[in-house]
């Protein structure tokens, strides 16, 4: 098996004058839960469609599970499972018939098909309701069934396009737990798109962030957090004079200093040197009441990345 499950090389797709995916170069390691993140309209769904060969690229190429999507899209689809933008369930069929249909499509032998359907429905807590028409089900139940359908044939690669979108927090958390345990148990590569950063941080070993079809960053979540979001120390107290702020700003490793509502926030380029900061503050005549170290969050890293990109775009258009 190839070490890389997905490899794209300057993959691009235009729709008339709009560029949905712009020279996307990406590698997804086999066996990883890979988060593909971006705001609405960033090009996440179009990328999945390109990787499944449902859309032809305008330029560039993609290789999935060692197959060129341009020439072997059928094989790529045969080895993959997908939960796309919509659950894609037949609402006039029962839950069991929905899985039976896709089990037949994937040519699972009858005995294996029945056992697999039962196992997945039991795992998702849907076995007792398997004979009900899915049209009357809640969105959470439908999403669970759609995930079961995507995993039914034990695919080597699963595309999940915003699987928890529109779910209430309880249903979303439950589905996340299911995804996490199933991905580990089934040993498949999971390509997950979401704009829920918390979800990405919990589930994904690696992430890529795109905006307006362009790749902004990719790598392990911890690396992105370290690289993009500065750790900060918040100090509550009195006597933060402009001169003192200047001295604090000049300390080694300090990226910037902000004050608001009697609170001083010191942002660091790397790990904060809190003792040195406190010494400088006390020596400078400040009264310190409370100190808190703020760890970098993935959300902060993501927002910084998007903000920087927006600024860059604005300066480019100004030129």
């Amino acid at each position: 098996m190839s070490e890389i499950a997905i490899r794209t090389d300057k993959l691009g797709r235009d729709f008339k004058t709009v560029t949905a995916v712009d020279d996307l170069t990406l590698e997804v390691p086999a066996g990883a839960v890979f988060g593909f993140l971006g705001p609405n309209g960033a090009g996440k769904t179009t990328t999945i469609r390109l990787l499944l060969g449902l859309l032809e690229p305008t330029r560039g190429r993609a290789e999935v599970l060692g197959r060129d999507v341009g020439t072997n899209a059928g094989e790529v689809r045969a080895l993959s499972g997908a939960l796309l933008e919509h659950s894609g369930l037949y609402e006039r069929l029962s839950a069991e018939d929905n899985l039976e249909y896709y089990g037949r499509i994937w040519r699972l032998p009858a005995a294996d098909r029945k056992a697999r359907i039962r196992r997945l429905l039991e795992h998702f807590g849907l076995w007792d309701r398997r004979l009900e028409l899915t049209g009357a089900w809640s969105r959470g139940m439908k999403q669970k069934l759609a995930v079961a359908r995507a995993l039914l044939h034990r695919p080597r690669l699963v595309f999940l396009d915003e699987p928890t979108a529109g779910l209430d927090p309880v249903a979303a958390a439950s589905l996340r737990d299911d995804l996490s345990s199933l991905a580990a148990r089934e040993g498949a590569t999971v390509f997950l798109t979401t704009h829920n950063l918390d979800e990405a941080e919990r589930l994904c070993s690696r992430v890529a962030i795109i905006r307006s079809g362009r790749l902004l960053a990719d790598g392990p979540v911890e690396d992105l957090k370290r690289g993009l979001a500065a750790p900060a120390v918040d100090v509550r107290g009195r006597g933060f004079s402009p001169l003192l702020l200047e001295r604090v700003g000049a300390l080694p490793g300090v990226a910037r200093v902000e004050t608001a509502d009697g609170r001083l926030s010191v942002f660091w380029e790397a790990a904060p040197d809190t003792p040195r900061l406190l010494r400088a503050l006390v020596d400078g005549g400040a009264e310190v009441e409370e100190v808190a170290v703020r760890k970098p969050t993935f959300e902060a890293a993501f927002l910084k990345l998007i903000k920087d990109e927006t600024k860059e775009e604005a300066s480019c258009s100004a030129i």
């Binding site: 469609r49 894609g88 037949y90 018939d97 499509i105 994937w106």
Partner: protein, 244 residues
């Protein structure tokens, strides 16, 4: 491919026929159709129903009517209910999906029509048989078998072609109705022909040999069926279906 086609046919027929409740699944409508086409109309015609070759023309209409009620749902319905993209993301080939959709519509229309044909014969035997079994003369039975199949194929092919690019089932149904009318424009134009030409045509029909005429019609139906299948095959493109 046949196995994949069978899978799609299984699901399509399950969706059409398998719904619960008499009216929900159109089962009541189905009973009315069977009673109307299979019992009422044949009985009104009398015993010659099973002997006249004209009955082939009657039965040829039935699959068209039956198929038209379901075929526009084939792709437009999947698109409208957001199930199409998941189906296209599966391992099924373009041809298997297309053949499955057309096959399901043909089986539904042809199968029900043949059911009506048999019910008609049973009704005839029960009312006019006088102890004998009344059944269609074998050339007529063969003609019914072939014509109903070909008409079901034409209606299914045309319906799928229309449904492939329609955004909604309603739009597909409207386009199908218009296409259906266009197909029969030549018949509407017949009364406008000059009287001498009409007389010549009628004379030709009266002198025509039944077998030869039936073969010509069969050939035309077959050609039309093949044309619609080819058009459907050309128009079925995965990435176009997603964009539509």
């Amino acid at each position: 491919m046949f196995r994949d086609m069978r899978t799609i046919v299984w699901k399509e027929l399950k969706e059409i026929l398998g719904q619960r409740g008499l009216f929900k699944g159109g089962k009541a409508g189905l009973f009315i159709l069977l009673a109307c086409f299979g019992i009422i109309i044949p009985l009104q015609s009398g015993p010659q129903w099973v002997s006249s070759p004209l009955v082939m023309i009657y039965w040829a209409w039935v699959p068209f009517l039956l198929v038209s009620g379901i075929v526009t749902d084939s792709f437009a319905g999947e698109r409208e209910r957001h199930t199409l993209e998941t189906l296209l993301a599966s391992r099924l080939s373009d041809r298997a999906i297309l053949a499955g959709k057309i096959g399901a519509a043909v089986l539904y229309g042809w199968g029900l029509t043949l059911g009506c044909v048999l019910i008609g014969a049973v009704a005839m035997t029960a009312v006019h048989g006088k102890g004998r079994i009344l059944f269609y003369a074998w050339p007529v039975a063969l003609g019914i078998l072939v014509w109903t199949f070909l008409v079901a194929l034409i209606a299914s092919g045309l319906g799928v072609v229309v449904s492939l690019r329609a955004a909604t089932v309603r739009q597909a149904a409207q386009t199908f109705s218009v296409a259906f009318l266009i197909l029969f424009v030549p018949l509407f134009l017949l009364p406008m022909l000059p009287a001498s030409l009409k007389a010549k045509l009628m004379g030709l029909l009266a002198r025509a040999d039944f077998t030869a005429a039936a073969l010509v019609v069969t050939g035309l139906l077959l050609a039309a069926g093949v044309v619609f299948l080819l058009i459907a095959d050309v128009r079925f493109r995965r990435n176009r279906l997603i964009l539509d």
